[in-house]
Symmetry: C2
Subunit: 326 residues, 2 copies
C-alpha cells in the first residue's frame, strides 16, 4: 500500500494528513497558519504539518510516496508558487513546491485548493467512476474545479475553473468580492445568501423570523437562512429558492461548456440537506438543453471534513502514478 | 505527403476538399445538401462530394489517408450520428460516420462543425502553436469550440462547447433562438446585432442612416450595422459597441473557466475588420482578471472560406496520427 501526505493550507489553519492509495485518510492534524508572521514562517509551518502528520499517523517519511500541497490565492501552478494570496497576507511569491520538495526530498504536487478538492472527489468521492466532472465549493466564495478524463483544468495562466467569476448578469448586477460585477459567486455563495437575505429583510422588518438575527451581535448566517426556510419562513424560502436558481444558472453554463458526467457541490451550504439539491436539479431541468439536463448527475460531495487533505493527497498520487492514470 | 478529405455539411450546401498534411486546401467543390429530399439522399450527396473532391483534386481514393465529416445539429459524436438537426430537416438519427466508413473503407472522423472549425484553426490557423484555445464562430448563432492540449472538448453527451448558450443575463433577458432566455448568442450573434439595431431604430426612426434599410425589402443585415458604425452613425456605433461588450462577457466567462492561451473569433462578423477586435479586447481588459486579461491572445480566425473543410480534414488527420499528437 502506498501512502501520501496531503497538506491543505488555509487562511487560518494548515491541515495535513496521511492518505492511503484508496483515498482513506488515516490520521490528520491541524496547526495555525499564522500568515501574519510572514511567508518564511508559513513555509516552516507547512513542513511542521508534514512531519506531524507522518509521525502521528505512525509512519516514517520514507514510507511516504509523495506529498501534495493545496493552497488558496493567485498562483502559478506549474511553478509551484503562491503569487499574491488575498487570504494569506503579507505573503508574496512563495515557492511552496520547491521548499517542500527540497525539505523532504519527495515528489511534491502543488495545486489550487478548489482544483485539489475536485480531484479528490473525482478519485475517491462523489466523482468516482465519472469520466469528467465539475465541482463547485460553496462557501464564502464559490470555488470551482474541472476534471476531464483525469486532467485537472488548471488553465494556461492558472486561472482555469475560476468559474465563480463567470458573469451571469450584466444590468444592475451585484458587486462581487473580486471587485467586479455580475459574477456567479456574487449571487450564489454563502456570503451572497446572507447579503440577499439582509437586503430583503431590511425592506420587510418584522415579517420574518430572521429579522431578529439581524439585530443580534453575531449577525445573520447562511445557515440561519436555510434553517428558517426549512420551517417555512416566506422570506428565507424565497432567498433559498433564488439561490437554487442561481446555482442552476452557473451549473447550466458549465454543462453547456464542459458537458461533464457529473456536477458536484461541496462546502458549507450543502449541510442543509438533499431537499436543496433537489431544488437545484429542478431549476437545471428548466435551464439546460434536454440531453445534458436528463443525463448529467448532480450530487453533493462525499469526502466531508478531510476533503482538502484527501484532494491534496490525490494530486500527490497523480504525480507518481501519472503513467498509468487516465 | 498524406492527404485527407474534409467534408463540411451545411443546411444548404455540402463542401468537400482535399487537404494536405500541412492544412493546405488543394481543391474544393460544393454541391447542394437538398436536405428536404431525405437523409438517404443526404448521405448519397456526402459520398458524391467525397468522390468529386478527390477526382477534381487529381487524386485517387487510395491516396487518401482518412476522411473527416463535420455537421451541424444535435448529435452523438462518438457514435458518429446526427440526431435531430434543426437545419437539416427532416433528418433524424443519421449514421454519417458508418455510412462514409463503409462506402470508402477509410478511417472516418465525425465532428460537430464548430468543434471542427476550432480544431482546424488550432492545427493550421490562428491557434497554431497554442497549447489551448477557444473559438467563437459568429454567425446566425454563436458556435463554439474548445481545444485543450490537442483534445477537442466534445463533452460526455456531445454538448461540450455549446457556450453560445451560456446564460449571461437573468432579468429581462433576450429570447434566444433555442427558446431559452439570456443566452450569450441572443446578445452577440449576427442575428442579435440586427435585432438590437432594429429595436433601437424602431424607437428612433429618422435619426440614423440605417432607418431606411428597415423599410427596404431585403431588410437590415449585421453588415449594414457595422458599415454604418464605421462611418460614424451614432445608433449603429452604440449597437456595435454593445456587441463588443457582450462578446467580451462571453470571452471572459471562457477565460475564467478554460483559461486558454488564445481566443479566436471566426464567422461573418469578423469581416468588418480589426477595429472591432480592438473593441472586444478593450472590454475584456475591463472584465477579466488581470493575469489572463494581460496574457490571453484574442485573434481573428485565419483559415477563411475553406475553414470548414480544413477543420473536418484536421479531425481526419487527428484520427490517424493520434499516437503522435498531443
Amino acid at each position: 500500500m502506498a501512502y501520501y501526505i496531503g497538506v491543505d493550507v488555509g487562511g487560518t489553519s494548515i491541515k495535513a494528513g496521511v492518505v492511503d492509495d484508496t483515498g482513506r485518510s488515516l490520521h490528520s492534524i491541524q496547526i495555525s497558519t499564522e500568515a501574519a508572521k510572514g511567508q518564511e514562517h508559513g513555509l516552516a509551518q507547512m513542513s511542521r504539518a508534514v512531519r506531524e502528520a507522518a509521525k502521528d499517523g505512525g509512519l516514517s517519511l520514507d514510507q511516504i510516496s509523495a506529498i501534495g500541497v493545496a493552497t488558496p490565492g493567485t498562483m502559478d501552478i506549474p511553478a509551484g508558487v503562491i503569487l499574491d494570496p488575498p487570504n494569506l497576507k503579507p505573503w508574496r511569491n512563495v515557492p511552496v513546491r520547491t521548499h517542500i520538495e527540497r525539505e523532504f526530498r519527495l515528489p511534491t504536487a502543488f495545486q489550487n485548493d478548489a482544483n485539489a478538492a475536485a480531484y479528490g472527489e473525482y478519485c475517491f468521492g462523489a466523482g468516482r467512476g465519472a469520466r469528467s466532472m465539475v465541482m463547485f465549493t460553496l462557501g464564502t466564495g464559490i470555488g470551482c474545479g474541472i476534471i476531464i478524463h483525469d486532467m485537472i483544468i488548471e488553465g494556461e495562466h492558472s486561472h482555469g475553473a475560476e468559474s465563480g467569476h463567470m458573469i451571469i448578469e450584466m444590468n444592475n448586477a451585484r458587486l462581487c468580492g473580486c471587485g467586479r460585477r455580475g459574477c456567479f459567486e456574487a449571487y450564489a455563495s454563502a456570503t451572497a445568501v446572507v447579503d440577499r437575505a439582509r437586503e430583503i429583510l431590511e425592506e420587510a422588518r418584522g415579517t420574518s423570523s430572521l429579522g431578529q438575527k439581524l439585530t443580534e451581535t453575531a449577525g445573520l448566517t447562511a445557515e440561519d437562512v436555510f434553517s428558517a426556510a426549512k420551517v417555512g419562513d416566506a422570506i428565507a424560502s424565497r432567498v433559498v429558492e433564488d439561490t437554487a436558481h442561481y446555482l442552476a444558472v452557473g451549473t447550466t453554463n458549465l454543462m453547456h461548456t464542459i458537458d461533464p458526467d457529473r456536477v458536484i457541490y461541496g462546502g458549507g451550504l450543502i449541510a442543509t440537506g438533499d431537499w436543496f439539491l433537489d431544488r437545484i436539479r429542478h431549476h437545471v431541468r428548466q435551464l439546460a438543453f434536454p440531453v445534458p439536463a436528463a443525463k448529467t448527475e448532480l450530487l453533493y460531495a462525499h469526502l466531508g471534513n478531510d476533503a482538502g487533505i484527501i484532494g491534496a493527497a490525490a494530486c500527490a498520487r497523480k504525480l507518481v502514478t501519472v503513467s498509468t492514470a487516465g
